[in-house]
Assembly symmetry: C2
Homo-oligomer: 277 residues x 2
């Protein structure tokens, strides 16, 4: 369990707000790992060992594990067990459903006795409204990371619709702020939307924002920080492919570390510029 | 694989448009089943045996299986294997994510070689737009069942927002109709919204609508049919708790059959009234 204050302290101490996305695709990991009983787990362990002093969060993407059935779920459970407890663990699952179903998803990702896993946070889709969110918040200290403005092309289809309560993504943030404070809700805001961060900070001045889309998707870290950082940092910037696939050889973990170090250095400069550290 | 035409023929033949929701909660199934190696699978098999001539679809709710970790996923896979191939198999998973992630979810639920399962259809949340949907449509003959207007209280939070393209749920239907035809997309419309069906039929005259919310949630079958049925029926009405938990004793399967039979009789009357059969 990682509180808001612990997260802020961790960012100041490590001078980093990096989240490493464990979108581990068995087709893309180095071939020599195939000899291990669980190549995906072995890959993740080495990535975690190589990066945990440089990042504040890990975010396995559930889809990549579910695509391999029972074996994949076992890799996810074993990866969760291996995550360092001082880093925020986020399951990127985007589950949103009505109350009695969201309770079951909460068991799946927050209740170790039921499922073998207990992440600190889960990404949730807002379309079904408060039922989709409140079941997760019933777990003391756990976080909901709600989709607001996502990084891919499809974000334009609905998230920018003008509604009678502002743009749809603004309406989502305003409504969700009535369900829980910045101690329990974060929002997903894509790095490819950097100029929108000024607007988002009007509605979510204190919330942490989970920011995908740096690297492979083309977002700029400097822009995200310029428009989105608040006095406590307030950002967790995710990088997946650019770190975990930095090399496809036996040196993949060292290459991942080099890339994470590169990002941490840029992050330190941004934190200093903003006076957070 | 079940085409639109096959589904319509099946409805006419069975005089039913019932979907049995397999929201199987290990805490709620009869105690005597606990002696079986997989009590959830045993429960599902007996429910399927008792109802498959009375319904046209089965819809396992992924959350109920995921909440039990690896054991639960194995129950889901084995349940999928047991489903009769002439019934539409819908995985109620509500997964919506960007392209490369939706591709992985598609593998998880549509690609038996990857995950052990290949459902005919999957429920998807629209918030992330077309990326969230098109990866599933890349599988020939598979269906996307997109959330439009859901049955629980949280549906009021965003789905009814007035946007510059109509109410949000209308905007979702209008946009999604540009991604695929009624041969590949269905919409979720809650039975508790029966008077809205007239409006929905303006935008989705030919699509099948998957309708949860009859029974435990209070929706009326007669109202749904009055406002929502089209010339091919165009409705798949789901019932979960009212059928699968009709009895908590050793007679649970017989009780489930009696309840399914009762619904099928009401459905036959509605189909006859509308001139579909």
């Amino acid at each position: 369990m990682i509180s808001r204050l612990q997260l802020i302290n961790q960012i100041k101490q490590k001078k980093s707000f990096l989240c490493v996305g464990l979108d581990t695709d068995i087709e893309k990991i180095p071939a020599f790992l195939k000899e291990y009983p669980d190549p995906v787990l072995e890959f993740n362990k080495r990535i975690i060992d190589a990066t945990n002093d440089l990042c504040v969060a890990y975010k396995p993407n559930a889809a990549f594990y579910e695509s391999r059935g029972v074996k994949g779920l076992q890799s996810l459970i074993d990866t969760w067990k291996y995550l360092p407890k001082d880093c925020l663990s986020i399951i990127d699952a985007k589950r949103g459903d009505m109350g009695n179903t969201s309770e079951m998803y909460a068991k799946a990702f927050f209740d170790e006795r039921a499922s073998g896993m207990s992440f600190d946070a889960i990404t949730v889709s807002p379309y079904m409204g408060h039922d989709a969110v409140t079941s997760y918040l019933a777990y003391p200290g756990k976080w909901v990371v709600l989709l607001a403005l996502t990084s891919s092309a499809g974000s334009k289809d609905f998230q920018y619709l003008t509604t009678d309560r502002g743009l749809l993504y603004e309406a989502v943030i305003k409504k969700a702020n009535t369900w829980a404070s910045a101690d329990r809700i974060m929002y997903v805001v894509g790095a490819t939307k950097s100029t929108e961060f000024t607007n988002i900070r009007k509605y979510a001045p204190d919330n942490f924002l989970l920011v995908p889309g740096i690297g492979a998707q083309g977002g700029s870290l400097a822009d995200v920080c310029h428009y989105g950082m608040n006095k406590d940092c307030g950002l967790i910037v995710n990088a997946s492919r650019s770190i975990i696939y930095a090399s496809n050889g036996e040196d993949f973990a060292e290459a991942a570390r080099a890339e994470a170090l590169n990002m941490r250095q840029q992050m330190q400069a941004e934190l200093e510029k903003a006076g957070v550290v």
